[in-house]
Amino acid sequence: MDFALSDEQRMIADTAREFFAEQATSARTRAAMAGDGIDRSLWASFCGEMGFAGVFVPEHAGGVGLGMIEFACVAEAAGGQVAAIPLLGNAMGLAALLADGGEQSAGQIEALVAGSAIAAVATSDQLTVSGERLSGDAGLVAHGAIADLLLVIASSEAWLVRSSDAGVIITPHATIDQTRPLATVRFDEAVATPLGANAATAALSTGLLCLAAEALGGAQAALDRTVAFSLERRQFGRQIGSFQAYKHRLADRAIEIEQARSAVYWAACALDSESVEAEIALPAAKSFCADAFFRAAADMIQLHGGIGFTWEHDAHLFFKRARSIQTLLGSGDLHRERIAALVLDRAA
């Protein structure tokens, strides 16, 4: 039992934070937002020099060989800069392929670790399977328009589909969160490779942890920036951070962020130790962190006053990312209902 980051984990977290602070600047993110929602050069460095894409991939499979705590530290840092990268699909795709463990996965794992292929994830219960072909509406897919590989999760089964396949129809949309644009994906007898039995669960668990950690990073950054602003900005002849209503509101955010941090580490530990607690820790972490982020980002706008709702200021990037994290992989209500089912409905 030990619930502090190790020195090595702290170092990884610091490195990731510095990397994103330096590279994922507002200007670069905004350029990606105006384009297809990915900062390709950032993603190349992330996968290449930094090797972050393979953080939880075993060394024999070409990765760094660490665990979910370290992955969470990286995702937290990415969230702190609202980085425009396809991290969610990458991590979920890798988790699915690692769980599958088949021979055909090795090459794809390598491509995802290296960043030479981009993965995105569709979850849908509207699909029909016939042979190894999928048809139907796969719903809205984050970074779907730039993906090379589509991980498809339906009814706890997982398939892999190449987006270049003739049976894949992808329609991009203007999306509120431009750092993670959504595209509608439809299949018309698309060729699909089925993955092993645990692939869907592994991908979803990793995805929930990824979103929770990103939300934690985003919430902390929104708070930090608002605190900094409140110490600079004066109104009524005072630093606005000296007003108690302002202080208490930020204190409430800080309380939630501390809880969010406990949630992310708990969920990551539970995955690393393959504990049954994961079945409650993951929905808890995802729903709690997403809401904490949303409130922190909403307060970031509110407490910046007029400048806070302009396009020019970064507050809206956090706010929109927080909203997209709330809906991705299921709403807070849905995840809380899952927890309620575990707590209330199992035999007494």
């Binding site: 719903g139 809205l140 949309h173 203007a174 999306t175 509120i176 969160d177 431009q178 959504l182 509608t184 004066r234 109104q235 009524f236 002849g237 005072r238 630093q239 000296s242 007003f243 209503a245 302002y246 909403a298 706008i301 509110q302 006053g305 007029g306 806070g308 709702f309 302009t310 396009w311 020019e312 809206h316 706010f319 909203r323 997209s324 809906t327 991705l328 709403s331 209500d333």
Partner: protein
């Protein structure tokens, strides 16, 4: 205290409705139900001139200045029928509801003759220049300077959040006319023509991709020496009076828009099945209750004969509607789910409910943040001590 209207009031309602419906289903059908304020400004101007031509542009004003001396109840009825007919939001809201009543209260006869006919006729659109980048909600921190030179006020400085400045003919501003003065002293209320080289307008793009607000720069901008309301140094008092007109009957027209927004959420919930989700049902019920209570709160505020008294309904109105609309935006997105986050428009433009979700974050900020509103409620409503000012 009673609900419902007298036969005379119902007759007036029918008169309003008839005229408005003829317009909105005839010559102005092309702008019926037009949302926001930025689309089709020329047609909006035509429409506001048409209102004036039939003496419907400022019915609460005295007949002498183009109004109808309409009672509060009549104004309520007109506002409701205006919204019901789908008539578009008024470009000249600021002129009719804020500048006009303030000029009526503080202006000389010459001033009334100079400004009011243009407002009443729809020829002069007005906007408001109070906020500044370093003042925000704090009017006493205004820095824009004005000095009297050769029979003209010469102004230098910057205003911000001037909505609709790009369509306006006049802007009223608070400027510091006593050099070296601080706080509430030494401010004056000036009325300035916008179409002059000294005034530059720069739109501010917002969170939702639209640009309703502007920065307005004054570089040796001028107005006549007589374009001042009240005496030099009276600006604070005039501005406070003006702000008190903000809670007029137009709030009820605004509520008709809120009703449309809530109805759109209800329709979306019915369409996608979330209407059967007990959590969504509770929130829709809360929204419904909140909107109804806004209506009766507004009616209490308008029925209060003694408008000078501290009126709880009036003091709490801004934060009520702003918070209600912010919550409605969040509810709308939860009803729509992920599908609410996408749009098939070119560029960054979203349908009504997603746009509401984004834009409503501004509602709790402009016109006095929720925090400022709570200060005012606590200090003026409950008599709690004022916040101390720091050293400027």
């Amino acid at each position: 205290m009673k609900l419902g209207f007298s036969p005379e009031e119902e007759a007036f309602r029918a008169e309003c409705a008839d005229w408005l419906n003829v317009q909105m289903q005839g010559a102005f059908a092309d702008i019926r139900g037009l949302p926001g304020l930025t689309e089709k400004p020329e047609r909006r101007r035509d429409w506001e001139r048409q209102l004036a031509a039939h003496r419907w542009s400022c019915i609460g004003w005295p007949e002498r200045w183009g109004g109808r001396d309409a009672s509060i109840v009549q104004q309520v009825i007109f506002a409701e029928e205006y919204a019901r007919a789908g008539a578009p939001n008024r470009l000249n809201h600021v002129g009719v509801e804020l500048a006009g009543p303030t000029i009526l209260a503080f202006g000389t006869d010459e001033q009334k003759a100079r400004y009011l006919p243009g407002i009443a006729s729809g020829d002069a659109i007005w906007c408001q220049g109070f906020s500044e980048p370093n003042a925000g909600s704090d009017l006493a921190a205004v820095q824009m300077r004005a000095e009297l030179r050769d029979g003209k006020w010469v102004m230098n400085g910057q205003k911000i959040w001037t909505s609709l400045a790009q369509f306006s003919d006049w802007i009223f501003v608070i400027a510091r006319t006593e050099p070296g003065s601080v706080g509430r002293n030494g401010l004056s209320f000036l009325m300035v023509p916008i179409d002059q080289p000294g005034v530059t307008i720069r739109p501010i793009e917002q969170i939702n991709g639209e640009a309703e607000f502007n920065e307005t720069f004054f570089d040796d901008a001028v107005c006549d020496a007589s374009d001042i309301l009240g005496a030099p140094g009276d600006g604070w008092r005039v501005a406070m009076a003006l702000l008190s007109f903000e809670r007029g009957v137009s709030t009820l027209a605004q509520q008709m828009q809120f009703r449309n927004e809530l109805d759109a959420v209800i329709a979306a919930a019915r369409a996608n099945g979330s209407a059967s989700d007990p959590l969504i049902r509770q929130r829709i019920a809360r929204a419904e209750i909140g909107l109804r209570l806004m209506r009766y709160g507004a009616l209490r505020m308008l029925s209060n004969a003694d408008r000078s008294a501290i009126d709880g309904a009036a003091l709490t109105y801004k934060i009520q509607w702003a918070s209600w609309r912010r919550d409605l935006g969040e509810l709308a997105m939860d009803v729509l789910g992920q599908a609410g986050e996408v749009s098939d428009a070119d560029g960054y433009h979203f349908p009504m409910l997603a746009n509401l979700f984004l834009y409503s974050r501004a509602d709790t900020i402009y016109g006095g943040t929720n925090q400022i509103q709570r200060n005012i409620i606590a200090e003026r409503g409950l008599g709690l001590p004022r916040e101390p000012r720091g050293a400027a």
